[in-house]
C-alpha cells in the first residue's frame, strides 16, 4: 500500500475548512446523543440522514462517522456524574465511574474517560487500517458456535466482577440471565414469563433493567443519606483533576491497549453488539487486576477499560460495513443506509476504487476522537460543577431523565412500572452488599447465549463444541473460572460492596 492516499487523505481532511467544520458540528451532536439516556448513536444517524441527502460523499460520510464515533465519549458523562448510562454499553462505566464521582473524584473519572475514549477511538482506527487486507476471513471465522462461547466467556466474568461475593454474584448474574429470557421466544414464538401481560412479550429491556439496578438505587441513596450535596473533595474538580485522570490512562496504558483491542475485535464481528464489548473489557480488567476487590467501589481501571472498548469498537465495526456491506452492529445498519444515500457503495472493491475515501474515514475516526477529548477537557470542569448543585435540585432531574431514557429506548409506559419494581430490588442489592455488575452482564449476554446455542444445535448438533474457534474459547473460559475460584478462596480484605 502506498503512503500517497494514506497521508494525502489526512492532509486533505485537516486542510479542508468544510470537513473541519462538519466534524466540529458532528462531535457535540454525537456526544449529546450519547449523553442523553436512551437515544444513542443509531437514532443520531437516523435523524441525520435527511440532512446528508444531497451532500457530496466525502463530507457526508465524514459528518456521519465523526458523529457516530464519539457517541460513547458523551455517554460516559451521565454514567459517571449521575449513574445514568447513556446507552447499554455505557452501563459498565457506571460501576466504577459513579462511585468515583460520589467520593468526590468526578474530575479524575471524567479525565480518565475522555482519554481512554480518545485512545480507544484512535486504536480502533489503526485496527481498521491494519486489518483491511484480512477482513473477510476474520469476519467469516465467527459463527454461532463461537458466539455462544464468547457469551459464556463474558458470563464467566460474573465470577470475576463479584469479588469476594462469588455466591451472591452468581445468583445475581443468573437472575439477570433469567430476566433476559422474558419475552417472546424467537424459535417457537411462545411468550415466556410474561404472565399474560402483552407488553412483556417484548422483554424487560436492557436499558430499563440497567437503569433500575444501577441508577435508581444510587438516586434513592442520595436522598436518604441526609447530605445536602453530592460529596466532593476540595481541589478535585478543576482541570488538574481532569488531567490526573488523563495521566491514569498512561499509567494503565497496557490495559487501555488490551481493552481497545477487545472492543475492536468485538466490533469486527457482525452480530455481537456493543454491550458485549464494554462488559468483556470490564471483566478483563477485573480478572487481570492485582487488586480486584477495588472494582465496583471506584477503581479507575473500571472506567478506562469499558470506555476504551466502547470507542474502539467503532473502528472494528466499520470494517465489515465498508468492505462487505455487512453492518457490524445495528448502528452500522443505519450508517450503511446513509452511505448508500450518499452514493457510496460499500464492498470489497472500495479500497481499490476509492482509497482516498477509505483513508479519509479512518482519519476521521482518529481526528474526531482526539477533538472530542479536547472538547470534553474544556467542558469537563463545568460538567463536574453541574453535579455540585443540591441533592434536592439534582435528584428530580435524574429521575425524569431516567424515565425519559426508558421512553426514548422505545419502551411503552408499562416499562416504568418494571423500572420501579426492579429499582426496589436493585436498592436491596446495594444496601445488602450484593454485587450488581453481574446482573448487567447476565441480561446483556443472555439472549446472545441462548439464540447462538439454538442456532449451533440446529446447524451442527452437539458437535459444535468441537469447532476450532469454540475450543480456543472454552480454554479461555476454563482459565477465567480458575482465576475466579482462586481469588474467591483468598482471605477477605474487609467489607465488599462491589457494584
Amino acid at each position: 500500500m502506498t503512503t500517497g492516499p494514506v497521508l494525502g487523505s489526512l492532509l486533505g481532511l485537516l486542510s479542508d475548512p468544510l470537513l473541519i467544520a462538519l466534524m466540529l458540528a458532528a462531535i457535540p451532536l454525537g456526544m449529546a446523543f450519547g449523553a442523553i439516556p436512551g437515544l444513542g448513536g443509531k437514532l443520531a444517524l437516523v435523524l441525520a440522514i435527511p440532512f446528508v441527502f444531497g451532500m457530496d460523499p466525502i463530507p457526508g460520510a465524514v459528518f456521519l462517522v465523526a458523529m457516530h464515533g464519539v457517541v460513547h465519549t458523551g455517554g460516559a458523562i451521565p454514567s459517571i456524574l449521575l449513574g445514568i448510562p447513556g446507552s447499554g454499553p455505557d452501563a459498565a462505566t457506571v460501576c466504577d465511574g459513579h462511585p468515583l464521582a460520589l467520593r468526590g473524584e468526578a474530575g479524575r473519572a471524567l479525565g480518565a474517560s475522555l482519554a481512554a475514549s480518545a485512545a480507544g477511538g484512535v486504536i480502533g482506527a489503526v485496527f481498521l487500517a491494519v486489518l483491511i487486507p484480512i477482513v473477510q476471513p476474520v469476519a467469516l471465522a465467527f459463527g454461532p458456535a463461537e458466539f455462544f462461547f464468547l457469551a459464556v466467556l463474558g458470563i464467566t466474568f460474573i465470577g470475576a466482577v463479584s469479588g469476594d461475593n462469588l455466591l451472591k454474584g452468581l445468583i445475581v448474574g443468573s437472575l439477570g440471565l433469567m430476566l433476559s429470557f422474558v419475552g417472546t421466544e424467537p424459535l417457537a414464538g411462545i411468550a415466556r414469563f410474561t404472565m399474560g401481560v402483552t407488553f412483556l412479550q417484548d422483554g424487560v429491556g436492557v436499558i430499563t433493567a440497567v437503569l433500575a439496578i444501577f441508577t435508581i438505587p444510587e438516586t434513592i441513596a442520595l436522598t436518604t443519606s441526609g447530605g445536602g450535596h453530592v460529596p466532593h473533595r476540595p481541589g478535585t474538580t478543576g482541570t488538574a483533576s481532569l488531567l490526573r485522570g488523563v495521566a491514569d490512562v498512561w499509567t494503565h496504558r497496557w490495559l487501555t491497549l488490551r481493552s481497545s483491542l477487545i472492543g475492536s475485535g468485538i466490533g469486527l464481528v457482525p452480530g455481537l453488539g456493543g454491550d458485549v464489548g464494554s462488559w468483556t473489557a470490564y471483566g478483563h480488567a477485573v480478572v487481570t487486576s492485582r487488586s480486584p476487590e477495588r472494582f465496583g467501589k471506584g477503581a479507575i481501571e473500571g472506567v478506562i477499560a469499558p470506555d476504551a472498548a466502547n470507542n474502539s469498537k467503532e473502528g472494528g465495526a466499520l470494517l465489515p460495513t465498508l468492505f462487505f456491506g455487512i453492518p457490524g452492529s445495528s448502528g452500522m445498519v443505519v450508517l450503511l443506509g446513509a452511505f448508500v444515500v450518499l452514493g457510496i457503495q460499500p464492498g470489497p472493491a472500495m479500497l481499490r476504487d476509492q482509497p482516498g475515501l477509505v483513508w479519509t474515514l479512518i482519519w476521521t475516526l482518529v481526528v474526531s476522537n482526539v477533538l472530542a477529548a479536547l472538547v470534553f477537557l474544556v467542558l469537563g470542569r463545568w460538567l463536574v460543577k453541574a453535579i455540585q448543585v443540591r441533592v434536592g435540585v439534582l435528584v428530580p432531574f435524574v429521575i425524569l431523565l431516567t424515565l425519559l431514557g426508558v421512553q426514548a429506548a422505545g419502551q411503552s409506559w408499562h416499562a416504568l412500572v418494571v423500572l420501579f419494581a426492579l429499582g426496589l430490588l436493585g436498592y436491596g442489592f446495594k444496601r445488602a452488599d450484593w454485587p450488581r455488575a453481574p446482573f448487567a452482564i447476565g441480561i446483556v449476554l443472555g439472549p446472545l447465549m441462548e439464540i447462538s446455542l439454538h442456532q449451533s444445535l440446529a446447524i451442527w448438533g452437539p458437535s459444535f463444541i468441537l469447532r476450532p474457534g469454540a475450543l480456543v474459547l472454552q480454554a479461555a473460559i476454563a482459565a477465567t473460572i480458575a482465576v475466579a475460584i482462586r481469588r474467591a478462596r483468598r482471605p477477605h480484605k474487609g467489607s465488599n460492596d462491589a457494584a
Partner: protein, 344 residues
C-alpha cells in the same frame, strides 16, 4: 299526535342533534377536511426499530407527506416488537381523527387469519391509505448448497436448512408455503435477519433464505447464491428464475401460491385506525398518492434502492379484503401449513 308521541319525537330530534354535534367530522366537506390538517402534527407509526427498510420507507413518507397534506410536520414513532403486532395494534387503537398513520408488514394478514396471540386489530376495518412497495420475494440458495433449481430442492433427501429472523414473519410464511407447494422439507435456523443470513450462507452454515429482491441483488450478483424461485408479480431480478405463479402445479397449490404472491405485492402499506371520516380519508389518500408521485420521493427512493410500486388506498382496501377472505381450500391449507410447530 298525542303528547307522548310529541315527547318521543322531541327526544329523538334532540338525540340526533347531540349526535351530530358530537361528531361534526361526519358532516365535513372536503374543504373542511383539508383545512383540518393545516398546522397539525401527524404521527407516523413504524412497527420496527429505527434503521430497517420499513423505517426507511416510513421516514421518506413522513418527510414529504406534510408538503402535500398541509400538516406542519409528520413525526415518526417507532413501535417495535411482537413481529409487527405491537405497531399494528398501536395504529388500530389510535384516535380516528386522521392524525395517526403507520406501516407494518403483510404478515399481519396471516396473523389475523390464524388468530395469533396478541392481535387486537381487524385489518378489514383499518383505513387504508395506500402502499409504496411490492417487489417480489425470492428464495435464494447459497453457492455451497448445490441447489440451483426447484428439481434440486425436490431431490433433497433431507430438509433444506433455511435462515429466518423469527417465528411468524413474512419470510417464515413464504418459506413454509413454498416448501409445501413445491414438495420439499424445511428446517429453520432462527435469529438470522437478512444480513446475518447472508453471512451464514457464506460460511456454509445455512443453505437458503427467503427475502425481498432488493436485499439479495448484490449477494446474487457477487456469486454467493442463486435465485431458485420468485414469489410475486413485478419486475424480476433474475428473469431466468421461475415465477412460482407460472409453475405447473395442481389448482389448489397454485391457488395458495397466488394468494401468497398477492400479499408480496402489497408491502410497505400505510394505514390508519378504523373510523377516519370519509372526507379526511379522501384527503389523506390524495396526499399520499401525490407524495409517492413527487419527483423528490422517487429520486430519494432510487438513491436508497427502494423499489416503488404504488397503489392507491381504495384499491389497497379491496385487495386486503380479498386477502382476508381466502377460499376455504386456501384457508385450510394456511391453517395446516402455518400452524405447525417450527420444524427442527
Amino acid at each position: 299526535m298525542d303528547g307522548a308521541t310529541w315527547i318521543r319525537l322531541g327526544v329523538l330530534l334532540l338525540l340526533t342533534a347531540v349526535s351530530a354535534c358530537s361528531a361534526p367530522q361526519a358532516w365535513e366537506s372536503p374543504e373542511e377536511a383539508r383545512a383540518f390538517f393545516e398546522g397539525q402534527t401527524l404521527t407516523y407509526v413504524v412497527a420496527t426499530e429505527p434503521g430497517g427498510s420499513y423505517d426507511t420507507y416510513g421516514r421518506l413518507v413522513a418527510r414529504l407527506l406534510p408538503k402535500h397534506l398541509g400538516v406542519a410536520r409528520a413525526v415518526v414513532k417507532n413501535v417495535p416488537g411482537g413481529g409487527h403486532i405491537r405497531g399494528a395494534n398501536e395504529i388500530a387503537e389510535a384516535p380516528a381523527d386522521g392524525l395517526t398513520l403507520g406501516t407494518f408488514n403483510t404478515g399481519m394478514i396471516q396473523a389475523q387469519l390464524l388468530r395469533r396471540e396478541g392481535v387486537r386489530f381487524d385489518l378489514n376495518h383499518l383505513s387504508w391509505i395506500g402502499k409504496a412497495g411490492g417487489e417480489p420475494r425470492v428464495l435464494v440458495a447459497s453457492r455451497q448448497s448445490g441447489v440451483r433449481t426447484i428439481e434440486d430442492l425436490r431431490r433433497l433427501d433431507r430438509p433444506l436448512v433455511m435462515a429466518n429472523s423469527g417465528f411468524g414473519n413474512e419470510g417464515y410464511h413464504d418459506s413454509l408455503l413454498l416448501a409445501d407447494a413445491l414438495g420439499f422439507d424445511v428446517r429453520f435456523v432462527f435469529g438470522l435477519p437478512t444480513r446475518a443470513a447472508q453471512l451464514s450462507m457464506m460460511r456454509g452454515e445455512v443453505e437458503a433464505h427467503m427475502a425481498s429482491t432488493s436485499a439479495y441483488r448484490a449477494f446474487v450478483r457477487d456469486g454467493h447464491g442463486h435465485i431458485v424461485v420468485t414469489l410475486g408479480t413485478a419486475t424480476a431480478l433474475d428473469e431466468a428464475a421461475p415465477w412460482a405463479s407460472a409453475l405447473d402445479l395442481d389448482p389448489s397449490t397454485k391457488g395458495v401460491l397466488a394468494f401468497q404472491s398477492s400479499l408480496a405485492r402489497l408491502t410497505r402499506w400505510t394505514a390508519g385506525p378504523p373510523g377516519i371520516p370519509e372526507a379526511r380519508l379522501a384527503v389523506l389518500r390524495q396526499a399520499y398518492t401525490a407524495t409517492l408521485a413527487d419527483p423528490e420521493f422517487a429520486a430519494s427512493a432510487a438513491k436508497l434502492d427502494l423499489p416503488l410500486l404504488p397503489m392507491d388506498g381504495a384499491t389497497l382496501a379491496e385487495e386486503v379484503a380479498r386477502a382476508l377472505s381466502p377460499a376455504p381450500a386456501i384457508r385450510e391449507r394456511l391453517e395446516r401449513v402455518l400452524r405447525r410447530e417450527p420444524p427442527r
